[in-house]
Symmetry: C2
Amino acid sequence: MTVQNLTPENLTEKVTNQDHYTPTPSLAALLDLTASDMGRINDLILQKAHSSVDMIPELASHLINSGGKRIRPMLTCATARLCNYEGLDHIPLATSIEFLHTATLLHDDVVDESDMRRGKKAARLLWGNQASVLVGDYLLGQSFKIMVSVGQLEPLKILSHASAVIAEGEVMQLVTAGNPQSSQEDYMAVVNAKTAALFVAASELGAVVANRPEQERQALKDFGHTLGILFQLIDDALDYHGDAEDLGKQVGDDFRDGKITLPVILAYKAGTNEEQKFWQRTLGQGDIQDNDLETALQLINKYKTIQITMEQARDYGQKAKTALQIFPTSVWKHALLDTVEFCIERGN
Amino acid sequence: MTVQNLTPENLTEKVTNQDHYTPTPSLAALLDLTASDMGRINDLILQKAHSSVDMIPELASHLINSGGKRIRPMLTCATARLCNYEGLDHIPLATSIEFLHTATLLHDDVVDESDMRRGKKAARLLWGNQASVLVGDYLLGQSFKIMVSVGQLEPLKILSHASAVIAEGEVMQLVTAGNPQSSQEDYMAVVNAKTAALFVAASELGAVVANRPEQERQALKDFGHTLGILFQLIDDALDYHGDAEDLGKQVGDDFRDGKITLPVILAYKAGTNEEQKFWQRTLGQGDIQDNDLETALQLINKYKTIQITMEQARDYGQKAKTALQIFPTSVWKHALLDTVEFCIERGN
C-alpha cells in the first residue's frame, strides 16, 4: 500500500494499527527533524525582514532573533512531512505564518503596554509605539506577499481567514478585559481566535501542500486546534506561577494588564463576596495596590485554579494526540506527540 | 475595429486620434458613472466590516461612514470600465482597497496622535488607541480575505505588494519626521510609498480584471502613480492653507506632528540661517510655541512654497492626463480627466 493511494478502508486499517509509542515531553525530536527546513525558513525570514528603511530590519530582528521557539512554522514543516510531502512550498508558507505571528506580537505589546518580550526589552520601549505599529504592518504586508508568492489559492484562503480571526480575537480580548465575571465560554472564544486559529492554519497547511484527503486535513486541523488551546491555557497558568526568567516576562503581567484568563475566572466564580470585590477592584477598575498580586496568587492557590487549568490543558492534549491516530507510525508522528507532552509539561 | 483587437498599429492610430476634451475640475461624472458599482461596494463594505464583536463594526463604521470621497475604489471601477470590462470582479477588489486604506488611516491616527479625521473626532479618541490598532488589523485581515475570494493570483500580487510598500512608506515618514533638512528626494520616496502605491494598485487593477495588454496596464499604472503624487502634494499644501472645515482637520496638523512636507522642505532650503533655526527648533526638536504656526505660515508665504508645490502638482496632473492618451474616447476617460483637474483644483 502506498501512502498516495489512501482509501477509507486502508485509513481504517491504520486506525486499528496504532503504535504504542509513549511520548517524551521534549521538543528535541521536532527540533532535530525540522532543522534543515527551519534553516531555510530562518534564511527567508531574514531576507524578507529586509528593507532599505533601516529601522524595519533593526526592529524586526530584535524580536525575530530573540529566541522564540518558532513552534508554529515547525508545525507546518512537521505536518507537511508527516503527510509525506517532499516539495518546498511549506517553507514560504511557514515563514509567512511566523511573520504574521511576529506582527501580532509587536501590536500586542503596544496594546498591552508590555515592557518585556521573550526576556528582552519590548521593541516598543526601544523604538517607540509608533514604530512598533508600523513595522508590524510591514511584517503583515510581507507575510501576505510571501504567501501569495507560492501561487496557490487554498493556502491563501486558510491564512487570510486566520489573520482576520486572530485580529477579531484580540479585539474580543480587549472588550472582555476588566470583567472578571466573564464566562469560561467568553474566554474560550478569545483563545480559539487569538491563539488556536494560527495553530490550526499552521497544521492544516501541512495536509494542504501535500494534497492529502479531507479526512487528514480535518485531523490536522483538530490537532492544531487542541494544541493551540492547550498552549494558551498553559501560558495563562504560567503567568501566575511561572519563573520570570524562563517565561521571558514577569509573573502577574496578565493581572496588571487586566486580562481575564481561566485561573481568574475560576477563582472569581468560586470566591466569596469579599473576594469577588477584590477582583472587581483590581481587574475590573484597574485599581491595583502594592500587595494585590500577592493576594491574587493566594486566591488562585486557595481554589487550585492553576491545577484545574492544567487539567483542562491535559484534556486538550489527549484530544490532540487522538487526532493524530489516523496517521501511520513515523518519526514525524512521534515528534508531534512529544510536542504535545512538551507543551503540557512546560507548565509544571 | 473592436477594442478587443488592439495592435500596436491601431493603438498608435488612437494616440494620434486624440479627442480635444477640455476637462472640468469636478468629480460629478466619476460619481455619476460609478454610482451603481459604488452602491455594490458600499454594501460589501458594510457586510465585511461586520463581526460578532460589536466594537469592530461600531468603530469601523465611524470611519467608513464619515464621508470620505472613496476615490481609490472609484478609480478601480472607472479604470475597469475604461477597459471595457463587463464583469464584477472589480467590486471585491475595490472593496479590499478601501479596507486597506481605512486600516491605514486608523493606524496613522494612532501614530500621529491625531484628534480629527474627516471632520469628526478620530476613532482613537472615542474607542482608544488599542482598539484602533486592533480593528485596523481586523480590517487588514478582511481586506486580504476579500481579495483572496476573487480567486485570481495577479490582483493578489498587486495588492500584497502595495500593502507592504505602504507600511514601508509610513515607517520612512516616521524616520524622516523632525528633520527639516530632508531632501525633496526623501519626501518623494515617502509619497510614492505611502500614497501613490495604492493609487497605482487601484488603477492597475482595472486593466488586470479586464485582461488588457501590458501597454494599457502600464498606462494605468502611470496614471495612478502621477495622480497619487499630485493628490498628496495638494494634501500637503492644503495643510498649510486649507479651510479647516472643508479639510476635516486643522490647518497646521502636519506642523504640529513634525511632518516634513514639500512646502517646508522648500522654505527651509530657501531660508536664512535664522529661519532654518526656527524650523529646526519647531519641527526638529518639537519645541512649538503659541505663535510658531503663524511664523511657519509667514515663511511659507514669503518663499511662495505653496505655489511651487501646486505647480509641481499641476505637472504631475499633466502627466496623468497624458498617460490616458492611449485609451479611446469614452465617458470614462473624460470622467478620469475631470478627476485629475478636480484633484488639482481642490488646492485652490
